[in-house]
């Protein structure tokens, strides 16, 4: 057993005092008081305000950029283009495709071409409006399926396929031969905007030694550091990046936009010697930042008369827009999860991430999983209908259980609570009775109930190197600071890290505070994505805390003159486990440590086991552990207008271990409603490559009046990797609601809408198609 496994097991065996409790997060007070915390709140009054000149067309050669009229405007202090970049004009994350400032060609709307600095935003905007860009329009390719054709217009010289991969398990031809029934359908999903309440913002200034400091709204400071250093032609150690409080992120703030905001600010700071801030407007954010990839998914599924699945063939085509961002990783997760959580003997999946001239798609909570679960779970209901089976029964016949194999032939271990999720959600929602009762609705308002099941490979798996560093410092006043470059942007996961440290050290949570994420004071720690903070960061936090505990116990043993192995820390006391009278306060021991020059700062570094699989056919261990879940949705459809009203969502998740059930419920509830928007109302519409609705008035996200009743059910089958068995739970809540809602609407209307969002027009159209 490795050291980390040992720590893990020891923790498991002990009763838990803090982990698993509904504890108030540590950053709440400043937030409810509205203290100045976010980047725009802390910008110096005299910082230059920046505006960006962006492409207005989806595909064109840039013939000329004339900055002279802008420079003549009083108050404009700088107008910078690609020529002014001292380093390398690149701001991509994976494939070398995107310049920070376009100079010869634009490949989508919203590409940055120049940045204008002035003492106020209005003057900067006047300047931006007066930068003249002359285009020679090129024909644009706007459909990812069209982009696959060999004679398609090319977005990049390298071709339109940003990434292709496949899964091959068994012999899919044989699987379809064995089938009594084969169905094939095509499903489509849309661009979804993250709509974090705080749009992207970054700020920079020069230090006296020529180095640059950046502050911004972001998920991953070290990515920003590398990006800014490259653009500025500086070594990374000459760029310090500090995360300000971040007003929601959901993915795009881990991709390229925080590089853009900070690097453009740094360029201006270097040219002018003044600090500079770039805050995106809402429409600018919605056009320029990455969104959820639209997918076109064709599924062919074979089953026996009794419902046993024999084969699945899938073709996935995603639209990553003009630049890849993290699209090539999103397609991996989509490809591996495309069958849904079922044991199917023969699987063939082909997955393409395509360039088009639409705006850029990239990271968004769920990362390819909501799209494929929408398709897979609608397909299960279509199959159930053809087989005349209850959709839940069909699923239960085929779900992943311990001992079965996933689509990538990974053996499902004991940590699989999928069956319990499905059964508990069905029971709590009264599935069987309502399925009957709602089916008898007549008249214009008809109710429906739908179910969907999911599995979600945890952390990065095949998508990157998976490690984390967490620092824990005990100060002379005995308070404990937990610091890491894993950032907090709303989930409360960093408070979860403090809970894990508190549990390990045997200290009350009231002693804890969070340090901010900063490239100077934190070790590089990988990206804050994929629900990694608890699962991977939590292990690092445990390791750091364990090292500190050793020191406290050693010094405590010296003070108490007893064997250190007999000592424990509990409720802030260091004492003898057999004799509670022999104890001293934890504060006394800390004081003694400082007197004796025992260092009380430790770093925990955890590196997840590598996922090993055959890259050719994608067979093997693709993720170290899985989160499982079931969602039941109930709706009422106005069959005259097509309007869908959600009535209730029942969501059951196997979370491994709930570190903080209160925060976890917040993740489930928030994710459910973000996904309800995805299923029912949200679509960033592109017309000829131009975003038609980049405002929160035209792009409608759920308000408090749009939410249904919700019931969350937490089920715990401890996973192999996460601390105390915890599984990823930031992302998974967005995987299922769209599918469950679509199935509920299909139940209510006896008609299938094969795409989301389920708008009134589409629902009505589907009903009319059926009646014909």
């Amino acid at each position: 057993m490795s050291e980390t496994e040992l720590v893990h097991k020891l923790q498991e065996a002990e009763g838990l005092a803090i982990v698993g409790k509904r504890i108030q997060r540590l950053d709440a007070l400043g937030k409810v008081l509205g203290l100045p915390l976010y980047t725009s709140d802390i910008a110096p009054k005299d910082a230059l305000r920046l505006k960006v000149v962006r492409s207005t067309v989806p595909h064109a050669l840039i013939k000329r950029i004339d900055t002279a009229p802008a420079k003549r405007i009083p108050g404009v202090s700088a107008v910078l283009t690609a020529e002014d970049i001292p380093g390398i004009n690149e701001a991509y994350s994976l494939l070398p495709d995107r310049p920070l400032l376009a100079s010869t060609k634009v490949r989508c709307q919203g590409e940055a071409i120049a940045v204008v600095a002035a003492s106020d935003y209005q003057t900067a905007q006047d300047g931006a409006d007066n930068v003249l860009v002359e285009y020679e329009r090129l024909p644009a390719i706007l459909s990812p399926v069209e982009a696959l054709k060999p004679d398609s217009i090319r977005v990049h010289d390298s071709g339109n396929v940003a990434k292709y991969l496949k899964v091959r398990k068994g012999d899919v031809k044989e699987g379809f031969r064995q089938a009594d029934l084969v169905i094939e359908n095509t499903y489509e999903t849309q661009f979804q905007d993250t709509a974090a309440l705080e749009p992207e913002v970054g700020m920079a200034w020069l230090e006296k030694d020529g180095s640059v400091t950046c502050v911004g709204s972001m998920q991953t400071p070290f990515y920003v550091q590398a990006g800014v250093a490259k653009v500025m032609g500086l070594s990374p150690d000459k760029v310090r990046v500090i995360q300000a409080t971040t007003g929601g992120a959901f993915g795009p703030k881990s991709d390229e936009m925080p590089i853009d905001t900070c690097a453009l600010s740094a360029l201006v700071a270097q040219k002018t010697g003044k600090s500079a801030i770039l805050a995106y407007t809402r429409d600018e954010s919605m056009i320029a930042h990455t969104k959820r990839h639209p997918f076109v998914i064709t599924l062919k599924t074979g089953a026996k008369h009794d419902g046993r699945l024999t084969a699945s063939e899938a073709l996935l085509v995603s639209d990553t827009g003009a630049y890849a961002s993290l699209g090539p990783l999103v397609i991996i997760r989509a490809c591996f999860h495309a069958t849904g959580p079922y044991a199917i003997p023969h699987v063939k999946t082909d997955a393409y991430c395509m360039y088009t001239n639409n705006t850029m798609a990239g990271s968004f909570r769920g990362f390819g999983s909501p799209q494929v679960h929408f398709a897979a779970e609608c397909q299960m209901d279509e199959l159930a209908k053809k087989l005349d089976m209850d959709p839940l029964d069909l699923r239960l016949k085929n779900i992943l259980r311990p001992g079965t194999l996933t689509a990538t032939s990974q053996l499902v271990d004991e940590a699989c609570g999928l069956e319990e999720c499905a059964k508990r959600a069905a029971e709590a929602s009264n599935w069987r009775a309502k399925r009957q009762e709602f089916g008898r609705d007549r008249g214009s308002f008809r109710r429906g109930i739908g179910v969907a099941l999911m599995y979600h490979g945890n952390s990065l798996g095949p998508e990157g190197s998976d490690y984390a560093a967490v620092h824990v410092l005990i100060k002379p006043d005995a308070r404990v600071v937990v610091r890491t470059a894993l950032t907090e942007y709303g989930t409360g996961a960093t408070s979860g890290l403090a809970q894990i440290v508190a549990e390990t050290l045997g200290l009350p949570i009231s002693l804890f505070e969070l340090g901010g994420a900063d490239t100077v004071s934190c070790q590089e720690t990988g990206p804050t994505v994929a629900s990694r903070v608890i699962v991977i960061g939590g292990r690092a936090a445990q390791l750091a805390a364990t090292k500190l505990k050793e020191k406290i116990l050693t010094v405590g043993g010296e003070l108490l003159r007893c064997d250190r192995s007999k000592l424990m820390i509990r409720d802030g006391l260091v004492g003898h486990s057999d004799d509670p009278r022999q104890s001293i306060t934890y504060e006394t021991v800390v004081e003694e440590c400082y007197k004796k020059h025992v260092s009380l700062i430790e770093t925990g570094f955890y590196s997840a086991p590598k996922c090993e699989f055959d890259p050719e056919n994608s067979q093997g261990t693709t993720y170290q552990q899985y989160t499982y879940g079931a969602v039941v949705a109930e709706v009422e459809v106005d069959t005259e207008l097509g309007v869908v009203k959600p009535l209730k969502i029942t969501a059951a998740y196997d979370v491994g271990k709930a570190i903080n059930p209160l925060s976890l419920e917040g993740q489930i509830e928030g994710g459910t409603i973000q996904a309800l928007g995805y299923g029912l109302m949200e679509q960033l519409v592109h017309v000829d490559g131009v975003v038609a609705n980049p405002t929160l008035g035209d792009y409608y996200i759920p308000t408090s009046l749009d939410i249904p009743e919700i019931q969350t059910i937490i089920i715990e089958y401890p996973g192999a990797v996460g601390p105390f068995g915890a599984k990823a739970m930031g992302e998974p809540p967005v995987d299922l609601p769209a599918a469950a809602l679509a199935n509920a609407v299909a139940h209510a209307t006896e008609s299938r809408v094969f795409s989301i969002p389920l708008t009134a027009e589409k629902v009505l159209f589907a009903m009319r198609q059926r009646q014909r």
Binding site: R25, L29, V32, G34, L37, T246, T281, G670, S704, I707
Partner: protein, 160 residues
């Protein structure tokens, strides 16, 4: 641009400012009075992050000109509660972990407080209606509604 002398009361304090015709109330509050708890999330009146209470009504300060606030009484998050004595809505939001990213929270606190000022026993539907002008992308609103409901209970018990 024409300049105007505007007097108004913010968080109990009188101010007299010379403002330009086109100056937004949001910018005056944030930049000139340094009330950074007032947030800008869209600038088009859609998200409600810039909500303040003006003469007992919730308003989007991004859609109001400073001159429209003449002679009004304005309350921002800075006028609600202190570290030592939080408003019951603030306390309940903390207790329910209903502040996630926190960007909408100043507006949510004001929306909750304004409701409770007018209705001490709101139903869940009343609360949903009262906060519906403020968008939140993190919580799905449930814990915020729970918090306002709990704050209402606390206020009633204190009075009772």
């Amino acid at each position: 641009m024409a300049k105007h002398l505007v007097k108004f009361n913010v968080n109990g304090k009188d101010h007299a400012l010379v403002v330009e015709s086109a100056e937004r109330l949001l910018d005056v509050l944030r930049d000139r009075l340094d009330l950074k708890g007032v947030k800008e999330g869209c600038g088009t009146g859609d998200c409600g992050a810039c909500t303040v209470i003006m003469d007992g009504q919730l308003v989007n300060s991004c859609l109001l000109l400073a001159v429209q606030a003449r002679d009004k009484r304005i309350i921002t998050i800075e006028g609600i509660g202190t570290r030592e004595k939080l408003h019951p809505v603030q306390k309940a939001i903390m207790k329910h972990n209903a502040a996630q990213c926190g960007f909408c929270i100043p507006a949510m606190v004001l929306a909750g407080k304004n409701l409770l000022d007018h209705n001490s026993a709101p139903s869940r539907d009343d609360i949903k209606e009262a906060i519906s002008g403020v968008l939140c992308r993190c919580t799905g609103y449930y814990k915020l509604i729970d918090a306002v409901q709990e704050a209402a209970r606390e206020i009633r018990e204190d009075k009772g």
